[in-house]
């Protein structure tokens, strides 16, 4: 009762605070039927899959829209103890880099593969910001199947954005850095001479989706923030927003905000690819990891690559241009027609919209204002379609509804502003709670948006949910944009901090893998059937070929393990029915558990530190007899000669199971 009163008072105070200094009107903004419109009955599917960046937890989170229900957390750049990703022997290679094994990253942006500028439901690309990497997820299995490290870069922020037929995924560096073949051991004072801003173009195989770092462009040493490829008539071009054209290297919040305008850099990627084909560019020696997950062996491999081709500003003189853009542009978004490029000067009180046709004409007419580090600068007015005046404070990102409207997030004034792309008039504005970053309309950065919903991803969430100490979940807010005015329908908590997101209609993903066919399991340590279960000693390595099925392991008891042994539990889940994973955990394991999907084989390495009896069990409640799914491993002191034996739970009266001798190689 006391706590209820306290909460009541707390809410009143919170409301007072809200009405005092935060955006007004959420309550009135929610119409009476909002709950009904986001309600998805048990057993019914959502309309959309919403893939949301996991921010600093390094993963990708999948929500259903309009319900806002969390469907899955997909591990990409961080180890995940829930299923052993990055802990199991098969998945450890996914997190290898030229810096060694890296168990974490900061995941910012996502891009769905496209065909003819429309989302096609094949792959999802994700970037790692901290140790630059790009990942590819297969949407048949929702698994991370490939991770490519990006050399000559730091802060892989303007990434991973795709061309309209998924020819290339781009990775522009946020930090200008000395390239890998130049020593980075230089004074910071030498910033202007030694530091470069490298843009990477990763080619994607049309059929397999496999990535290959095709070439890089060594651009001036400024910071690249975000990017988008053109589409249709502008399809050969990529656009990058740049900040710190001052090339400052200290107190950037003052020193990088001196110039009235920074740039949007336009790069003709098709011409760049042709230059590389013609033999331009220098070969730079470097090191970067290429990690691939093979779905037939359920195993990842990591390869270190040694070289990359880098084009210089000089090579790119007819294929790379700067467009001045008001103050520190953040978002750089191309409308569905491919004609308009929206820059969001986050410190500017207006939104500049550029015209692709005008840009091309300005280049043809040599309508330049000068050069920036050898890159021609197009005159601002020559490329400008127009400016949205007084849209709000702190414009960050723009998405499109396919009906001629743009929606821009306003970080400082915490609102979403809808405006008309042609006449640049503001049509509507709705508050967010609070400090909105990215926006997402399903297909909203493609040539075919599904303009029904818009989601705002907020960086602060005060006063939205029950208090949870000093740290709160961040929030996403769902708006109905089917009418003239935006309507807030729902907000739901997210993992912090949500950056960009992508979404597609659920019925686009019809060919989901439901289980792995045991016949197709090519894992070298697969156990296809309980009769093949065995324990093999190879020196101090012990390989356990183990099976799991409702509701037992085979073998379920093992003796003869010694301190100093490296024990590999290769567990094959024999189930052939979907959503019947089995778990595997053993006392004293210093990594994690395994969660093995039907038909899959996963390996947990275990190194017991002291003699004793170690129980192991299934972690995932699999049947009424789940609690019985367990066994023991006996560990003897180093050097002891306890015979290696194991029992199979295959006798009617198994009070004392039959035992088999383990093999020794």
């Amino acid at each position: 009762m006391k706590s209820l009163k306290f909460f009541g008072l707390g809410s009143v105070m919170a409301l007072l605070l809200v009405s005092g200094c935060k955006p007004k009107g959420t309550e009135t903004a929610v119409t009476g039927d909002a709950a009904e419109r986001v309600y998805v009955a048990p057993g019914k599917y959502d309309e959309y899959y919403n893939f949301v960046s996991g921010g600093f937890n390094g993963q990708v989170n999948v929500y259903g829209l309009p319900s806002g229900r969390l469907l899955k957390v997909l591990p990409v750049f961080s180890q995940n103890p829930e299923n052993g990703y990055g802990y199991s022997e098969e998945t450890k290679p996914m997190l290898e880099t030229s810096h060694g094994f890296i168990p974490w990253d900061d995941q910012h942006h996502l891009s769905l593969s496209q065909t003819n500028g429309e989302v096609d439901g094949r792959w999802l690309f994700a970037n790692a910001n901290n140790t630059p990497r790009v990942a590819r997820l297969d949407l048949k299995t929702f698994k991370t199947v490939e991770i490519l490290e990006i050399p000559n870069s730091a802060g892989n922020h303007s990434s991973p954005f795709l061309t309209e037929n998924t020819e290339y995924v781009v990775a522009g560096t946020r930090f200008a850095v000395p390239t890998d073949d130049q020593s980075g051991d230089v004074p910071i004072e030498s910033f202007k001479s030694n530091f470069k801003g490298v843009l990477s173009f990763i080619g994607i195989d049309k059929q397999s989706g496999e990535m290959d770092l095709s070439f890089q462009i060594e651009a001036p040493g400024i910071n690249f923030d975000l990017s988008h490829a053109g589409k249709k008539k502008s399809g050969d071009w990529f656009f990058f927003s740049c900040y710190n054209s001052e090339k400052a290297n200290t107190l950037l919040e003052v020193n990088a905000s001196q110039n009235d305008k920074d740039f949007i850099m336009a790069v003709n990627w098709k011409k760049a690819a042709e230059l590389v084909k013609a033999g331009k560019g220098r070969k730079v020696t470097t090191e970067y990891a290429h990690n691939k997950f093979d779905e037939s062996t359920h195993t990842a491999t990591s390869t270190m690559k040694k070289e990359v081709i880098v084009l210089s500003v000089e090579d790119m003189k007819d294929a790379m241009f700067m467009i001045p853009c008001p103050k520190s542009p953040h978002g750089c978004d191309v409308d569905p027609t491919g004609e308009y490029i929206v820059g969001s000067g986050k410190l500017a009180a207006l939104i500049p919209v550029f015209s692709f046709d005008k840009m091309i004409k300005a280049i043809a007419d040599k309508n330049f204002a000068g050069e920036f580090d050898g890159v021609k600068v197009i005159k601002y007015e020559a490329a400008l379609h127009g400016e949205v005046q007084k849209p709000g404070l702190g414009p960050l990102h723009t998405e499109f509804d396919g009906k001629g409207n743009a929606y821009t997030s306003m970080f400082v004034s915490s609102e979403v502003v809808k405006w008309n792309i042609k006449d640049l008039k503001v049509l509507d504005r709705q508050p967010t709670f609070y400090s909105v970053g990215h926006l997402m309309i399903p297909g909203g950065d493609s040539a075919k948006p599904f303009g029904k919903y818009l989601v705002a991803y907020n960086k602060i969430t005060k006063d939205r949910y029950l208090p949870t100490g000093p740290e709160l979940a961040q929030s996403a807010q769902l708006y109905d944009i089917s009418g003239d005015k935006m309507k807030l329908l729902l907000d739901f908590p997210t993992f912090g901090e949500p950056h960009y997101a992508q979404a597609l209609p659920g019925d686009m993903l019809k060919d989901q893998v439901k289980f792995f066919r045991i016949e197709d399991n090519k894992h070298p340590y697969a156990t296809k059937g309980e009769a093949e279960s065995k324990v093999v000693r190879e020196g101090n390595k012990v390989h356990v070929y183990m099976t799991s099925i409702r509701s037992h392991f085979a073998p379920d008891n093992i003796e003869g393990i010694r301190v100093g042994d490296e024990v590999y539990f290769h567990v094959t889940n024999l189930e052939q029915d979907w959503d019947i994973p089995h778990g595997f955990a053993i006392k004293g394991a210093q990594n994690a558990e395994l969660l093995i999907m039907p038909g899959e084989t996963c390996t947990l390495k275990w190194m017991p530190k002291k003699p004793g009896m170690y129980p192991m069990y299934c972690t995932d409640f699999c049947s009424a007899l789940h609690q019985e799914m367990q066994g023991y491993v006996r560990v003897s002191p180093a050097g002891s000669n306890t015979p290696l034996i194991y029992s199979l739970n295959n006798k009617k009266d198994n009070a004392q199971s039959p035992v088999k001798a383990g093999e020794t190689k």
Binding site: E519, A554, E575
Partner: protein, 160 residues
């Protein structure tokens, strides 16, 4: 879902115990709701305990095919023998010895390719569930594989 399955199984078992074998299926929604609904809509009375639920009818067992039985045995060792012995001995599930005398070929083929909906309504399977407490997992068998396993079961029972 799997939790719900096992809860459903537990409920079912409880139902059987407390209501003395009431044949009405439980209404806990599961992923197999649709198939359950089909079974229910056709009415439990319409259930043919000799044929089961599935597409198999009139399975021809007039001759024995040893090659097929050999394939069936290989398959069984991957997918079945973790839980079933070729003898009468119960492991996780019942032993296979005698199954082809107790059940029709159609019933066996339907059950091993479509276990969930049949467990929900078949009186024999409900009795077995009460004993074993584990619902037989769907092993994703295609029609040929199911027929091969049936042939192996017939071999166990002495078909020549």
């Amino acid at each position: 879902m799997k939790t719900i399955h096992s809860i459903a199984a537990a409920f079912l078992a409880l139902g059987l115990v407390s209501c003395g074998g009431d044949k009405k299926t439980d209404s806990v929604p599961t992923a197999s709701t649709e198939t359950t609904a089909t079974a229910e809509s056709s009415g439990t009375n319409a259930y043919d305990p000799k044929r089961g639920i599935g597409k198999h009818e009139n399975v021809d067992v007039s001759t024995f095919d040893p090659a097929m039985a050999a394939e069936g045995r290989k398959l069984a060792e991957v997918k079945c023998t973790s839980c079933h012995k070729p003898t009468e001995e119960k492991l996780v599930g019942p032993g296979w010895k005698g199954v082809t005398q107790r059940q029709t070929p159609e019933w066996i083929m339907n059950f091993i390719t479509n276990p969930d909906p049949m467990i929900d309504v078949d009186p024999e399977l409900q009795k077995q569930l009460e004993l074993c407490l584990v619902r037989m997992p769907n092993q994703g068998l295609n029609d040929t594989e199911a027929r091969q396993i049936l042939e192996y079961m017939r071999e166990i029972d002495g078909a020549k």
